[in-house]
């Protein structure tokens, strides 16, 4: 089973069109292996992106260097998935 240890989901809040474009550029950064849960739409709408552990530092550095605000929506995805699985197993029992 594929695991997601250390993957984080970041909630990004671009504040203007320029920042929105910079976030849009992230979609083309293939080496980051980002998984956009909620894609880039408009300034008023946040973007959610799953970031693998190996690109966390680079992604955050990129956002911070562009002064783009973000928060951590999920600290460690695998922990959430383990909880979800445990809940399913427990309910099934």
């Amino acid at each position: 089973k594929e695991t997601f240890d250390g993957h984080q989901v970041l909630r990004i809040a671009p504040r203007d069109e320029a920042q929105l474009a910079l976030v849009k550029d992230m979609e083309d950064m293939m080496e980051f292996e980002l998984d956009f849960w909620k894609g880039v739409t408009e300034v008023a709408t946040h973007v959610d992106v799953r970031v693998p552990f190996h690109s966390l530092q680079s992604t955050k550095t990129y956002l911070e260097s562009q002064d783009i605000k973000y928060s951590i929506m999920i600290e460690d995805l695998q922990v959430m998935l383990d909880e979800e699985q445990e809940e399913m197993d427990s309910a099934a029992r």
């Binding site: 998984d35 849960w37 909620k38 995805l77 809940e87 309910a91």
Partner: protein, 310 residues
């Protein structure tokens, strides 16, 4: 395992086999109203089950609802299961639904991408696409919401098989899509088509592949407004609504663009709630609230369709 659909636990997520069993139980319990149609097979050979809710007649005008075309959006399959039970329990007691079903049929495909759903349970919880290998690539699967013959291959879809929005080698290349296409064409009397996704709290209508305004936009917009108003009446969940391209972004090869171009006027796609947070891993205690509020919006669209048959 639950022995009947009354003891089925709608407040938790279920495996593919559990949902298949649920469907069979619902049919067995309601033989006069519910039947199961297998419209095709997935790439890995799983049945593409559609529940037909009908009170009689032949080739009646009908409403289509699908959930789970993106496999990791678990709250949609879970909501679809709840909808199925809701239809049989409300028929005869809810005047609006009863009137609809006395005139129209409802088709509900709960697990539209069963290979993907199985894969999310057993290998990769974050899987979204189909599971068909791509020739010449090590990456697997096609985005089944970019695989329809509506602006296929245009902007808003990827030609990279490794992308989550890969459109596939050709329109309707995925059996999960082609089976619906064949069903829609052979039925010929679908009046509404509601495709359900998660998560970003939106109710959308065509188009996604072009900025051309749908000829029924004014009506679609008004119905959407009423639908999200009713939805919000339960828990205050706020939805945005509008055409796909103006509300989110350009997306080619999408489901409801194709159905609308086939003449199904009331073509909508939902993005269910993220209230409760955690996106695709929405906590299970959010399933029933999500399903309940969504049902109110579905009823608005279904009722409008019934009262405005064309």
């Amino acid at each position: 395992e639950p022995r009947n659909t009354d003891s089925f636990d709608f407040s938790r997520y279920h495996t593919l086999n559990e949902i298949y069993s649920f469907q069979d139980m619902l049919v067995a319990e309601n033989p006069k109203m519910v039947s199961k149609i297998v419209i095709g097979r997935s790439y890995e050979g799983r049945p593409l089950n559609v529940l037909k809710f009908s009170t009689g007649g032949t080739n009646r005008p009908a409403i289509w609802i699908d959930t789970g075309i993106h496999s990791r959006e678990w709250v949609t399959q879970a909501s679809g299961t709840w909808f199925a039970k809701k239809i049989v329990t409300d028929y005869g007691s809810d005047p609006a639904l009863t009137a609809i079903l006395d005139t129209m049929d409802i088709f509900l495909e709960i697990v539209t991408n069963p290979d993907g759903y199985y894969y999310t349970h057993n290998t990769n919880r974050m899987w979204r696409k189909t599971r068909k290998p791509n020739s010449g690539s090590s990456c697997v699967g096609v985005d089944p919401n970019r695989n329809w013959d509506a602006g296929f291959g245009g902007a808003g879809a990827s030609s990279n098989p490794c992308s989550e929005t890969y459109h596939g080698p050709s329109a309707h290349s995925e059996s999960e899509v082609k089976s619906i296409v064949d069903f829609v064409k052979s039925h010929g009397n679908l009046k509404a088509f509601l495709s359900i996704h998660s998560y970003s709290q939106m109710l959308l209508y065509p188009y996604g592949y072009t900025r051309t305004v749908a000829k029924d936009q004014a009506e679609l917009h008004a119905v959407a407004e009423k639908a999200i108003t009713d939805l919000a009446s339960l828990y205050g969940t706020r939805y945005r609504y509008g055409s796909i391209i103006t509300t989110i972004y350009q997306a080619s090869g999408g489901t409801i663009d194709w159905t609308y171009n086939q003449g199904i006027k009331y073509s909508y796609t939902f993005e269910l709630r993220d209230t409760g947070r955690y996106g695709f891993i929405l906590p299970a205690n959010q399933i029933i609230p999500t399903a309940k509020e969504t049902w109110l919006a579905l009823m608005v669209i279904m009722d409008h369709t019934y009262k405005n048959l064309y």
